[in-house]
C-alpha cells in the first residue's frame, strides 16, 4: 500500500512540475479494488507514453478478459477489450494491418498462460512488433480467486481449497524458450522502474514480453502480497553484454523476483521486415 501511495505522491509532484501525462489517462476511474497492483502498472504506462511522446491516437491497447482486461478503459487512446486469452491474436492482426500504430497487448496470467497460452509461442517466434504486458498476480482475479497457471504449488485457492496440485509455469523462461526477442520483468510497486522497462519494450522492434509482478490484494493473502513482494523484489542489474540467452535462462531459473531486462536481440528483424525481405527476394 505504501508503495502505491508513494506512486501517487510522485505523480502529484510531477504534475506540479508541469510534466503532464494526464492526457493518457481516461476520465473513467479504475474500478479495481483499492490497493490492487494494477494502479501502479497503468501509472507506469501513462508515464512511459509521455516520455516516449506517443500520440494518443496512435496508441492501441488490446486486452483480454479479467481485471487486467479493463486496462484500456482507463487509457485515453484507442482500446479494445477482446476475449479471454485472445489479446495476442487481435493485437497481432492490428499491428500487421497498421504498422503505423503502437500496439500493446495486455493479459492476465489466466489470459496469457492458461486459456490463451497457445498464442504466446507463435507471436514470439514470428517476432511480431507488439509489446506484451503480462499482469501476473498468480490468481484469477475477476472470477474471484481460482488457481492460475502461475499459482504456486500447494497454495490454497478457491478452486483448490486444500492446495493447488499443479506446478506453476515460469513465464520468463517460457518467453525465452519461445524465442521472444525482448524479455523483461517489472514490478507494479516500482512504477519508475516499470516505466523504464515499458519504454524499452515499446522501443524494441519485435515482440517484447514483459512480465509484471503484481498483487491481487483481494484474493491472494499469502503469495504475491505487497509485503512479500516488497521483501523479495530486487533489481537484476544486468549489463547489456550480459543480456544473452545463457545468462537470461540462468537468471530466469534462479531469480523469480529479479526485475529488469533479461534478454534483448536487436538484430533480429521483426515479422513485417521478414515478410518484406522474403517478398523482395522472391
Amino acid at each position: 500500500m505504501e508503495v502505491i501511495e508513494s506512486a501517487y505522491l510522485d505523480e502529484k509532484i510531477e504534475t506540479v512540475r508541469g510534466i503532464d501525462f494526464l492526457q493518457y489517462r481516461s476520465q473513467d476511474l479504475p474500478t479495481w479494488c483499492p490497493g490492487c497492483g494494477y494502479f501502479g502498472i497503468v501509472d507506469a504506462f501513462y508515464k512511459a507514453c509521455r516520455e516516449l511522446n506517443l500520440k494518443q491516437e496512435n496508441i492501441v491497447t488490446v486486452s483480454g478478459i479479467g481485471c487486467s482486461g479493463r486496462t484500456p478503459i482507463f487509457i485515453n487512446s484507442y482500446g479494445f477489450h477482446t476475449l479471454h486469452g485472445r489479446s495476442i491474436p487481435v493485437a497481432s492482426g492490428l499491428k500487421l494491418a497498421r504498422e503505423d500504430l503502437t500496439v500493446f497487448a495486455v493479459a492476465g496470467d489466466g489470459d496469457a498462460l492458461g486459456i490463451g497460452g497457445g498464442h504466446l509461442p507463435h507471436v514470439a517466434r514470428k517476432n511480431i512488433n507488439i509489446t506484451f504486458l503480462l499482469f501476473d498476480n498468480s490468481i484469477y482475479g475477476l472470477t474471484k480467486g481460482q488457481s492460475s497457471s502461475t499459482t504456486p504449488y500447494e497454495m490454497r485457492t478457491n478452486s483448490h481449497p486444500v492446495g493447488n496440485p499443479d506446478t506453476p509455469l515460469n513465464p520468463v523462461k517460457l518467453a525465452l524458450a519461445y524465442g521472444a526477442s525482448f524479455v523483461a520483468r517489472g514490478y507494479a510497486g516500482d512504477p519508475r522502474g516499470l516505466k523504464q522497462i515499458i519504454k524499452e519494450a515499446t522501443l524494441h522492434q519485435g515482440f517484447s514480453f514483459v512480465q509484471i509482478l503484481t498483487p491481487c490484494v483481494t484474493f491472494d493473502k499469502e503469495n504475491k502480497t505487497w509485503k512479500n513482494l516488497k521483501e523479495k523484489v530486487h533489481d537484476l542489474n544486468l549489463r547489456n553484454e550480459e543480456k544473452n540467452m545463457e545468462t537470461a535462462m540462468r537468471m530466469a531459473e534462479n531469480e523469480p523476483y529479479g526485475v529488469g531486462t533479461f534478454f534483448q536481440d536487436k538484430e533480429r528483424p521483426h515479422y513485417q521486415e521478414i515478410l518484406r525481405n522474403l517478398n523482395k527476394a522472391d
Binding site: 491516437e57 478503459i73 500504430l101
Partner: protein, 586 residues
C-alpha cells in the same frame, strides 16, 4: 443445330493423369464455345493408387448442375472403373483398354461388367501409349484421342489444348502427349466401328469470349483481391486451404499481409484486429475451424468490428468427411454462437456468384461493421466452370466505411444509437475519434453498461442494421414468376439451387407447373419474398444436402406451412435428376 449435352467421366488411379485428362478436355471444350462444369474426386490419401474420377459435363446451353450420370466412362484403370460403372447411364459408352499390360483374369476387366445396353469400345490404350512414347504414361492422351475420333471432334484444336497444358514442360513431354493423342485418334478412326449416336460433327458455336476456367476457391481469392483485401489470416483446412495458398502469393503483390496462424481462433482474432484497424480482412475455413471461431464471431457483432469468414462446408459433424460436399453448416452459420447475435450470411449458388458474394461480403462487413459469413461447400470450392471474366467492383463497393464528421467529433460516441444501426466509425490514428470497444454490453461511448434499457437499446441497434442490409441483398432468383399459381415451388439455397432450377425447367417441359426460388442472402433472410413466392405454390419442395433439413426447418418457421423435404448426404453434389423425380411423385 442439335444440342450437345454430355457427361464424360475419366476414371483411373492417382498418378495416371486422370485429372489432367479431364482438365484438358474441359479447357478444349471451353475454347470451342461449350459450357463446361467439371468436378474431380481424389482418393482421401495423398499417396498411393487410390481411385480418381474426373467428371465433366459439356453443353451447348447454359448448365446449372454437374449431371448425375455419365454418358461416357473412360477406364484408365479397370479395377476402379468397375466401381464407377454404377454412375454410367444404361445406354452409356465405355472406353477401355483392350490390351492391358498384364492380361486380365476373368472378372478383372471392366468390359466384362458392362451391362447390356451399354456400348463398349476396346482401344489398346497401353499398347498405343508405348508405341507413341515408349511407356504407359500417355494412356490418358490415347484415350482422349479415341474420344475425339469417336465423336468427330476436330483433332488439331484439341492437340493445341494439349500443347497449352504442357507448355511449361520440356519439348519431349509435349511431343509424347501429342503423339499419344494422335495414336489413339488414328487407331480409332481405322479400327472402330461407331455405333453410338454422339457426334460433334458440324457443331460450331459462336467464337467464345475470353473465359476464365476457374473454381470457387480461386474466384473467392480473386474477388477478395479485386475488393481491396489487405489482410488475410488463416489455418489450413480442406476444402478452404487453396484460398490461403493463392492469397499467400498474390496478397503481398497488392501490398497486403498474409498470416498463417497457429489455429482458427487466432486467425479470426487477427482478422478482427485488422478490421479494428480499418483494413479489409478475411479468413477462410471449414466446419471444425468455424466452430473454433464461434466466440470471436460474437465479438465481431458485439464490438461492431468488420470480419469476413468464408466457410467451405464439408460433410458431417466434427472432422466429418473433409473431401465430401454437404450443406450442413446452415444452422451453425445462421443461428450458431451465443446470445442474440445478428450476422450476415451469404451463400452463393454457383461458381460465378462466389465472386459476387465475396465482394459483397467485404463491402457489407465494412459498411455495417459486423460479421459476414460466406457459405461455400466442397463442391463449390472445387468444381470448375468456364465463366466470363467478372466485372471488377465499382468504387462504392471498395470504400464503404461511414466515418464520423466534425459534428460527431464534438462528443464522439462510437456506438451512437442511429436509425439504421450504423454508428460512424473512427479508425485508430484519427485524432479526436478515440474510443474503447468491448465485447461486454456497453453504452454509446463503448463503456461497459449492463442496464436494462441500455442492453435493450443496443440489441435493437444491432438488429436495426438488418433492415437496410436486406435492401442491399441481391434479389432472390425466381425461375418463373409469370403465373399466379404453381403446383410445385422448389425452394433451395447454396450449391443446390442450380440443380433445383434445372429440375424446374425440365419439369416445365414435362408439363409440370413449377417454379423455383433461391436467395443468396440467408441472414437476414428476405422473408417477405419467400412468403410471396410460397403463397403462389400449392406444394413446396425443399431439397438440400443435409440429413435433418436445416434450411427446411428455418423456412417452415417463416412460412408456417408444411413442406416436402428432399435430403441427401451422399457427399455428391445435388442432382437435378433426383429433384425432378421427386417432383413427378408429388
Amino acid at each position: 443445330m442439335k444440342d450437345i449435352n454430355i457427361v464424360i467421366e475419366i476414371c483411373g488411379s492417382a498418378g495416371e493423369g486422370t485429372i489432367s485428362a479431364g482438365e484438358i478436355t474441359s479447357r478444349f471444350m471451353s475454347s470451342q464455345g461449350f459450357e463446361i462444369m467439371s468436378f474431380d474426386s481424389y482418393p482421401a490419401e495423398i499417396r498411393g493408387f487410390g481411385k480418381c474420377v474426373a467428371h465433366t459435363r459439356i453443353s451447348s446451353r447454359q448448365i446449372y448442375s454437374p449431371g448425375k450420370l455419365a454418358d461416357v466412362l473412360i477406364a484408365l484403370n479397370d479395377k476402379h472403373a468397375i466401381s464407377q460403372l454404377s454412375t454410367l447411364k444404361e445406354n452409356g459408352i465405355l472406353i477401355y483398354d483392350s490390351q492391358p499390360a498384364r492380361p486380365h483374369k476373368e472378372d478383372e476387366s471392366v468390359a466384362g461388367w458392362a451391362k447390356p445396353g451399354m456400348i463398349s469400345y476396346g482401344i489398346p490404350l497401353n499398347m498405343l501409349a508405348h508405341k507413341a512414347s515408349g511407356n504407359a504414361r500417355g494412356m490418358n492422351m490415347v484415350a482422349l484421342g479415341a474420344l475425339a475420333a469417336l465423336f468427330y471432334v476436330d483433332k488439331s484444336p484439341f492437340t493445341d489444348s494439349i500443347k497449352t497444358r504442357y507448355a511449361k514442360k520440356k519439348q519431349i513431354v509435349i511431343d509424347s502427349n501429342v503423339n499419344s493423342f494422335l495414336e489413339g485418334y488414328n487407331w480409332t478412326k481405322e479400327n472402330i466401328k461407331k455405333i453410338d449416336p454422339h457426334s460433334f460433327k458440324d457443331i460450331t458455336l459462336p467464337k467464345p469470349k475470353e473465359k476464365l476456367i476457374i473454381n470457387g476457391n480461386q474466384l473467392v481469392a480473386r474477388a477478395a483481391l479485386d475488393a481491396d483485401l489487405s489482410f488475410y489470416a488463416g489455418y489450413p483446412i480442406t476444402p478452404a486451404t487453396k484460398i490461403m495458398e493463392i492469397l499467400s502469393r498474390e496478397l503481398p503483390k497488392h501490398g497486403g499481409v498474409l498470416l498463417q496462424t497457429e489455429d482458427e481462433i487466432s486467425a479470426i482474432g487477427a482478422v478482427i484486429g485488422a478490421g479494428f484497424g480499418g483494413k479489409r480482412a478475411m479468413t477462410a475455413t471449414s466446419g471444425p475451424g468455424f466452430a473454433l471461431m464461434t466466440e470471436f464471431t460474437g465479438l465481431s457483432v458485439m464490438a461492431e468490428v468488420p470480419a469476413v469468414i468464408i466457410n467451405s462446408q464439408r460433410a458431417g459433424p466434427s472432422t466429418g468427411i473433409p473431401t465430401k460436399t454437404e450443406q450442413s453448416d446452415f444452422n451453425s452459420a445462421v443461428l450458431g454462437g451465443t446470445g442474440d447475435c445478428p450476422r450476415i450470411v451469404l451463400a452463393p449458388a454457383d461458381t460465378k456468384s462466389c465472386y459476387e458474394a465475396t465482394v459483397l461480403a467485404l463491402y457489407l462487413a465494412e459498411k455495417y461493421q459486423t460479421l459476414v459469413v460466406v457459405l461455400l461447400d466442397f463442391f463449390l470450392s472445387n468444381s470448375i466452370r468456364n465463366i466470363n471474366i467478372p466485372e471488377k467492383p465499382s468504387s462504392e463497393y471498395l470504400d464503404a466505411n461511414i466515418a464520423p464528421d466534425k459534428n460527431d467529433f464534438k462528443d464522439y460516441q462510437r456506438y451512437k444509437i442511429t436509425k439504421n444501426g450504423i454508428s460512424p466509425r473512427a479508425i485508430p490514428g484519427t485524432p479526436g475519434g478515440m474510443f474503447f470497444s468491448t465485447g461486454l454490453e456497453h453504452d454509446a461511448y463503448g463503456r461497459p453498461n449492463y442496464s436494462e434499457a441500455g442492453h435493450t437499446a443496443m440489441t435493437q441497434k444491432r438488429f436495426a442494421k438488418f433492415n437496410t442490409v436486406l435492401t442491399e441483398a441481391p434479389a432472390p432468383e425466381i425461375s418463373a414468376n409469370d403465373r399466379d399459381e404453381f403446383d410445385i415451388g422448389v425452394i433451395s439455397w447454396g450449391s443446390s439451387a442450380g440443380a433445383a432450377h434445372e429440375a424446374v425447367m425440365s419439369a416445365q417441359k414435362e408439363g409440370i407447373n413449377a417454379s423455383s426460388f433461391s436467395s443468396m442472402m440467408l441472414s437476414p433472410f428476405p422473408e417477405k419474398a419467400l412468403i410471396d413466392f410460397s403463397d403462389k405454390c400449392k406444394k413446396i419442395l425443399i431439397p438440400e444436402l443435409n440429413f435433418s433439413g436445416q434450411f427446411a426447418g428455418f423456412a417452415t418457421r417463416i412460412l408456417k406451412r408444411s413442406v416436402e423435404r428432399l435430403n441427401f448426404i451422399t457427399g455428391r453434389p445435388m442432382a437435378s435428376e433426383d429433384i425432378l423425380q421427386k417432383m413427378r411423385e408429388m
